[in-house]
Symmetry: C2
Subunit: 160 residues, 2 copies
């Protein structure tokens, strides 16, 4: 199965496609950061939708995994993040993908072993687990970590 992991933002959205075989062999098929360069926010949201649909079309993942968002200090940034996140979720849903959400601490705990892990620790662990030949960019690493978190939960989900 293929998992699309995503870390949305109003300017940069990290994404990663993880292939899982026999619940334990993990391969990164593609990972990157979608940079939205249009000055207009509406156009950036449109671009995000189009790019994600292209990634989904190309790899045909089975599910999308995304971080849950809880409290944000700044209401304005919560609102902006909400816009990008809504677009990403709609793009996945319209492609028939179920969306799984994981709390940020759970993602770090599952992938790094420590819920308050720093960004660079996530990058290093993602590189090691997926046997990447270089350190993934931070947003891409976050997206791959979310996909990995879902992959690690698959045995539990399948039992339930």
């Amino acid at each position: 199965m293929k998992i699309l992991g995503i870390d949305p933002g109003s300017r940069i959205t990290g994404y990663g496609i993880l292939e899982v075989e026999n619940l334990k062999l993990f391969t990164c098929l593609e990972g990157g950061a979608i940079r939205l360069l249009e000055p207009s926010f509406p156009k950036r949201l449109g671009q995000l939708f189009t790019r994600l649909r292209e990634v989904i079309e190309h790899h045909q993942p089975t599910i999308m995994a995304i971080e849950q968002v809880f409290v944000h200090q700044n209401v304005q940034s919560a609102l902006k993040l909400g816009h990008a996140r809504g677009v990403a979720i709609a793009a996945a849903s319209l492609s028939g993908l179920p969306v799984f959400e994981y709390a940020p601490r759970l993602v770090k705990k599952t992938v790094v072993g420590y819920g308050a892990a720093e960004k660079h620790q996530v990058q290093q662990m993602v590189k090691a687990v997926l046997n990447l030949n270089k350190l993934p960019q931070a947003d891409c690493a976050d997206a791959l970590a979310i996909a990995l978190c879902h992959a690690y939960h698959l045995p539990l989900l399948q039992k339930g």
Copy 2:
């Protein structure tokens, strides 16, 4: 020209299509409330995108007008509203519509004459100005009020 006014929400999104002739003759071509009944939030966001694209496809409006969102007491509801709003803005942007935003107080002041007007006052004024044969539902009235607010600003925009 045709203006799409929209009042997004995570369960109900009001919308209205306003036709403007000679900057002063206003006709409501369609108005309603898109009720998202799916229990899953991702599916509701997908539905919202699809329904809005259908409305846009059908009426071919030139622009979309939407309320600006400032501070929200509750961060979680700001975030949810952000998701729906992001989807609506992406749908418009992907159809090539520019998006104009108006502050809620400005919409009420422009349409009702009073920035702190109550919902029912907005409904009554929208009914009167557009010569509707019944009181529009509240979310639909808000959407039509936003479209009207843009229509009233057209002479200023065209001078600029």
